[in-house]
Subunit: 419 residues, 3 copies
């Protein structure tokens, strides 16, 4: 048996991820970078080794990650030119070998890796591709399927003309990387779907084995996807786990699956309702409420703040705030009385501007998305779906109706766009 | 003995009741419409039956009310043309009979009905009228009295020229309705005091028996009267009564006469101090304080809100608010940090505009009066005595200095009128 | 032995103390005027008597103060013309006697009085002057010292050219007041450092005995010095002391050295963390947090307020506020949601205008300084270091960027000065 090389793709750059500047693969969830969760989900007994295609910016941090056994190898993709380019970059390492291609910033249950690898061990398939039923229309690849065989990957079909209800999951097995690399060289395309075209060409002759998957699936394309990713991770928590080095006041309430790190303090009457995660050295102040949220490290949730369904990074300072369905990347300061509105008056789905285009986030509840180091003054109000660039300042008492650029200082009341 | 027909008047329309759109008789207190309290206060053994004069809009809801025994009969007043017109409408049902005329939206202790009916049973009086000492000047009818007999009803005398200190309470007994109906036909008046003129004419010959009453008396003429009415109902609560279907967190505090309905949840550290009433399926969130207030059904009082001396209707959503001396009709949403100011800087009595006239509410503490379905954005501030029309929107961070019309959208800071 | 007369200077007027209008000597700390602490620190066995140099405005209140034994004598300085003038005013009372000159509004440990007096009892020194090592540059007098003798008082030397690291403390002993008074007459100066010049002249012949002091030293020159003075007093509290007449709810938390006066009520879930002082008849409401602060008498700290490192005077009303590193002189009302910002976005030291000059307060955390009777509306925001004059009104929702004059009414958003 030819155990495959697991190729974890992490060389891309999030073009639609502003104001979040952290590399997607390195975004921490439950205290570890996203890609670390992926790497540690791989059963080393079923793969030859792990190869990460990184970029200049993230290679160092990725290099520190420990897999379950052995070490990871890193190759650096010089420019973020897509999956096909990533595989070309790894050519020397994978030539002639079986490979398992994985998106480093996707989140699936490790049973999926197991199922794909187990099917590959039977030896009959040149290619294996998993698919997942997706309830509503999905902005990504769909599978054309006949008789449980995958015949083609169709990128971003229009709603209503999807070739099946199965969405393509990038946990792709190829018995011989050379087959794929050869097809890649044949595709003439300037767009970033060279990989999918090459796979589809490869499938013209006999298709691929299909693995149906029904477990959780998370991805981060837009910044608000972080909230759904956080929800996925939180839903994996099954029991309460409080560090012995944490100090929990006897008048605090901790309910459900809550993980509390070292040197955390939880003060009088604080209420934490799981699933929730509190990173090392953070504190949850008197009368605070934390609900279904991830709190990073060294973050202070001050007196009488409420954090609901949110992702709070490291080193934040909050104080008498309402933070709902909101993302704070890290090192964010909110003055007393600053709040996020997370719900439209008309209860409609919330839109957000991405590269000057209004994108429907599909969420009825969405607060703000705040880049690293941005600060928000006392009694300021952030409207639903607002994004605030890194190191920006929002002045006291300001109501923010539009995105705030990086390092901008917004001290005047922002004119409200006409309805 | 001729037991009287109790005629409960509910055909009127509240001209000075904006922004409250609910029919006065149907306003719920302690979970039941105001008129239901009145109807159920009537001892069926002392009356022949109950006849309600309703209008097109409220007849259906009133029809559902169950008296202590039997059923109520409804006649519909086509236009809201006052008490005399209401009695004319009921002519067929009451001709030749003894009647007890009652205002459906007034609130008195049931001892008053008892005292009037008991006096009527002695058989010597053609008319019986109760009076109540009123501390300060009252904008309504006063009784002219000599030797414990009522000689005349004087409508709205000037302060200082009241004919006595006794205020007219509409729990009027007539041994024969025809006497009254005859006098009504003789009155030539275009104003809405035909009834009082007719009664006064009837009294010219021997006057009426006086019943002195010292118990509580509530009425709803202006919308802020709802607060005093709520206070009356709350003061009638004598003990704690928590539904077995309610879930009270062990860290919550419930003190004094508090009634808590089915499926209510009261969360960690919530404090409810009686007298207070929490309707079915509502929830009082973590760290909330509810003090001397009525909360309707299906209302969510969210994290760290304070509700003091207020009337909150059904289906409201609150969150980190201060709601003091305030009326929310129902289905009102307040964003985090929205507050009602309920006290003037100069500690003076608070005025409110009614039909473009400034009316002194007589209250030193009065928050806002918010019509059904109106929503208030995060960090908005409502000034004392402000009224907000149904379905209006108050934007985030806005300070509201003037009444907001129905369905209006107020997104700019409102210019403050010069002092 | 000639026991000295202790001369406590309290005739001055705080020119840089706006918006605080209370006489410095009479500012209450831990329930007693500042000067009362000074007077009661004096050991009556080592002094002949206490003479206070007061002014017309404060003489009455000072007259009520009881020393440890006997009574105090008061002489009134007609105009606040400095220390030399104060001593001239007291000439008749002190001629030919030993004196101990003390600043009534300074705060030192009583060991300092003891050390100076003990040294004086040895009889060898004509003058004794204490000095204290000061960590950073101090805007006051420094001592020129050689061989443990004080040779001169140097008023306000430039940073870097201080004659020593020892700061002059005004606990000055003179064996014969006439020596000093004679020198005072010789000084020709229009400025207010006549006293220091006179002392320095006196020292030309042999210098003064030096007493080194390492204990606490507090003074009130600028209004924000009140915060440091409060810290000093609080740090002197060593144990919890709750009046038997106070009512503490069993769900409240009181930790550390906290003094709670008569008739105080502390409600559900209130948290008081020492050192802290709560004056008579005040109340700490449900869910409040009081941390390292002094609260005066008859003050209501309402629902869910946080008071951190602040000085709150008598008769204040707070409610859902954040009050951090802030001074409220007394009778101040804050509406719900009004907050003090106490930290600059850039984490820099906070400046404050004093007599149209920007003074660096040296503090990184400083909230507002609010004069007696000023009121602040709901959801208003006070920027760091802002001063608000007595009886001024700050309207609801206003962000205050500049000082507000006495009795001013600020209802518009204040334009932000360009950065």
């Amino acid at each position: 048996m030819n155990k495959p090389v697991a190729i974890v793709l992490a060389g891309g750059v999030g073009k639609r991820f502003w104001p979040i500047e952290t590399d997607k693969s390195l975004l921490p969830f439950l205290g570890r970078p996203l890609i670390e969760h992926t790497i540690q989900s791989l059963n080393h007994e079923k793969i030859e080794r792990i190869l990460v295609v990184a970029n200049e910016a993230n290679k160092k941090d990725i290099g520190r990650i420990k897999p379950r056994s052995g070490r990871i190898t890193i190759v650096v993709q010089e420019k973020p030119m897509g999956m096909a380019d990533a595989l070309r970059t790894a050519k020397k390492e994978i030539g002639g070998k079986a490979i398992l291609v994985i998106n480093g910033a996707d989140r699936v249950d490790q049973s999926l890796y197991h199922d794909v690898l187990t099917k590959s061990e039977m030896g009959s398939e040149r290619v294996i591709i998993p698919g997942r039923e997706h309830g509503q229309h999905f902005q990504g690849g769909y599978l054309r399927v006949r008789n449980e065989r995958v015949l083609e990957i169709v990128e971003k079909p229009e709603a209503g003309s999807e070739p099946s209800t199965l969405v393509n999951l990038v946990v792709h097995y190829f018995r011989n990387a050379d087959d794929l690399l050869t097809e890649i060289e044949k595709v003439k395309s300037e767009t970033d779907d060279v990989y999918e075209h090459a796979v589809s060409r490869l499938l013209e002759n006999g298709g691929a084995g299909l693995v149906r998957y029904e477990g959780p699936f998370g991805f981060v394309k837009y910044p608000w996807d972080i909230l759904e990713m956080a929800r996925l991770f939180l839903s994996s928590l099954k029991e309460k786990r409080v560090s012995k080095k944490a100090v929990i006041h006897p008048k605090a309430t901790i309910e459900g699956p809550v993980v509390i790190g070292d040197n955390v303090s939880v003060l009088e009457q604080a209420v934490i309702k799981g699933p929730a995660y509190i990173g090392n050295s953070s504190s949850i102040g008197t009368n605070c409420l934390v609900l279904e949220s991830i709190i990073g490290e060294n973050t202070v949730v001050g007196f009488s703040s409420e954090i609901t369904r949110s992702y709070i990074g490291d080193g934040c300072w909050l104080h008498q705030n309402y933070i709902g369905d909101t993302i704070l990347e890290g090192e964010n300061y909110f003055g007393a009385g600053a709040v996020t509105a997370n719900f439209r008056f008309d209860a409609g789905a919330i839109a957000s501007k991405v590269a000057s285009e209004n994108v429907n986030t599909g969420r009825k509840k969405l607060g703000a998305i705040v880049g690293r180091g941005a600060r928000v003054g006392v009694n300021a109000s952030l409207m639903p779906g607002i994004k605030i660039g890194g190191k920006a300042l929002v002045g006291p008492g300001v109501t923010v109706y539009r995105d705030v650029p990086r390092e901008a200082k917004l001290f005047e009341r922002q004119e409200r766009p006409q309805p």
